[in-house]
């Protein structure tokens, strides 16, 4: 009974915690500019994420190692340091974007500009982490994030052409504006295959004290939860096709995005969008801040747990305190979170091989996984994901130059 409840909660949190400013922005830009044509990128990103998250959970449940400390142990400090620098830069930019997303949501609700909210939002996120427990962060924010289901309601209410939706799930080339098409596709994949999600999930497995008996549950949460999350992203794209594309609106600012649900849900669409973004970005900001702190603590062998009091894992708490403080600075000076989002998604894609390649080695190491090592199918999938990550890394910067 306890496990069924945990499974239900796990599924709910996967769905409620899936969307964040990157996935929403890139899906809206895709729908507004290219119709249903880029649905395949969300599908591909979600499939990759399902497998990587499942492996992250399995590795931690069986070996009691997170991905980060296993990477450090298996590949040594120089490689870990290299990954740490890349992940810190990328995660920092994503954190700026998420905190900015909360500020922008508050801006459209109150009319007070997001730079004025930056300090308040950062302190609120920090306080939640300082005072809260892991389950509060994992479940609380994600439960609130269920308001993002309103994107699905809005998309369905606008009566999309389901044949075109199904057609969009198959990869096609753009007839014109190929560079922008490629750039948006890369950004969607960068937003979907977020390394911080894997680090957070892997650390959460340890925080929740999972063991081998949780392997089936891990598979269901990763498979079903993340797939439903992917459907949310697709709903955003579909809503953008129907609400923004016919009017010729290309999403460059949050104010434009805020109109997404007003045609489908005239009474509540505006408020639902603002709250959906507020909670989605809050959940993501908490997860990213924790992921960065987990990364450093696990990599350097410090004491770490969100459930410990700050006096018992001071260096862990110092990392998230510092990173939240630093992330607030560009926002106070009015740096546009949407621009940071676009840049961070492409940068995530550019650095993707670094966190992904270790999976192939770790998931085949009998010392860590014993009989739960990857089989031929999982290894084939990881190999394909690694190939995709290298392609993304190579093409992301040229595409940013010509299509970004």
């Amino acid at each position: 009974m306890k496990k069924i409840l945990e499974l239900a909660l796990g599924l709910i949190t996967s769905v409620g915690g899936f969307l964040e400013i990157g996935s929403v922005t890139t899906a809206m830009q895709a729908g507004a500019s290219f119709g249903y044509q880029l649905l395949w990128a969300i599908l591909l990103g979600t499939v990759c994420l399902v497998f990587l998250v499942e492996m992250s959970g399995r590795l931690s449940a069986v070996s009691k190692h997170t991905i980060v400390d296993a990477t450090r142990e298996r590949f040594g400090f120089p490689f870990f340091f290299f990954v740490a620098v890349a992940m810190t830069i990328v995660s920092f930019l994503v954190l700026v974007a998420e905190l900015g997303g909360i500020g922008l949501s508050l801006q459209v609700l109150t009319g007070i500009g997001f730079p004025w909210w930056a300090v308040f939002v950062s302190v609120a996120v920090w306080l939640l982490m300082w005072k809260g427990s892991f389950s509060l962060i994992e479940n609380g924010a994600s439960l609130l994030g269920l308001v993002t289901l309103s994107f699905v309601v809005a998309a369905v209410k606008m009566h999309p052409d389901w044949g075109s939706v199904a057609h969009g799930l198959l990869p096609t080339l753009a007839s014109d504006n190929k560079a922008k098409y490629g750039f948006v596709a890369v950004s969607i994949l960068g937003a979907s295959i977020s390394p911080y999600l894997m680090y957070f999930y892997s650390s959460g497995t340890i925080e929740d004290k999972w063991d081998e008996s949780y392997i089936p549950m891990n598979r269901i949460i990763a498979g079903v939860g993340m797939s439903f999350g992917g459907i949310l992203s697709m709903a955003v794209l579909v809503a953008a096709v129907l609400a923004l594309q016919p009017r010729g609106i290309d999403v460059q600012k949050f104010e434009q995005a805020a109109l997404l649900m007003t045609p489908a849900l005239p009474k509540w669409g505006f408020v639902l969008f603002a709250f959906a973004m507020l909670f989605a970005c809050l959940g993501a900001a908490l997860e990213i801040s924790l992921s960065i702190a987990y990364f450093f603590a696990q990599g350097f062998g410090w004491s770490w747990s969100e459930d410990l009091s700050p006096s018992k894992d001071a260096r862990f708490c110092f990392v998230y305190t510092l990173i939240i403080l630093l992330a607030a600075i560009p926002l106070v000076f009015g740096v546009d979170p949407i621009k940071v989002t676009t840049m961070s998604m492409a940068l995530t894609a550019a650095t993707l091989p670094l966190p992904i390649v270790p999976f192939l080695f770790l998931m085949n190491d009998p010392i860590y996984l014993g009989e739960h090592r990857n089989g031929w199918f999982s290894n084939s999938v990881v190999t394909i994901i690694i190939l995709i990550s290298f392609v993304l890394a190579i093409i992301s910067i040229p595409l940013q130059i010509v299509g970004g």
Binding site: R247, K253, Q256, I397, V402
Partner: protein, 135 residues
């Protein structure tokens, strides 16, 4: 050496944020005209707050002003620059007027301005089509 290469990635990304071409600027102008129109529609249907509508209209106006300045310096080829300038100038004035009418809660006058804005949007769209046809 590897670390330096990694640190160079964000610098490359910053450098990669290129200036938009005149054709892209024209598309952007159309997008902001449509944004002002959609925000106006939403306000007339009482689905968005006054403050948000005013600020979105103001943002549209400012962005159009900036785009107009850029397009004057480098207009897209095969486009009648005077017609484009006229349409964008009128649009900016109408959007500014619409923001004032939101404050005054004058829906009938707002609807009239919105209709006129739609006419200007059509003119800009035709100019954009002619620019695209010329490419």
């Amino acid at each position: 050496m590897q670390l330096k290469a990694l640190l160079a990635i964000p610098v490359l990304f910053l450098w990669a944020c290129k200036q938009p071409t005149p054709a892209e600027q024209l598309d952007s102008a159309l997008s902001w005209l449509a944004t002002a129109g959609m925000a106006g529609d939403a306000w007339l249907r009482h689905t968005t707050p006054d403050r948000y509508t005013r600020e979105t209209l103001e943002l549209s106006r400012k962005t159009l002003e900036q785009i107009r300045g850029d397009l004057l310096k480098a207009p897209p080829s095969k486009v009648d620059a005077a017609s484009l300038d006229g349409a964008l100038t009128r649009s900016r004035r109408r959007i500014a007027q619409m923001a004032k009418l939101v404050e005054a809660k004058d829906s009938p006058a707002f609807a009239t301005q919105l209709d006129s804005l739609r006419s200007d949007e059509k003119i800009v769209k035709q100019l954009d089509d002619s620019a695209n046809a010329g490419q």
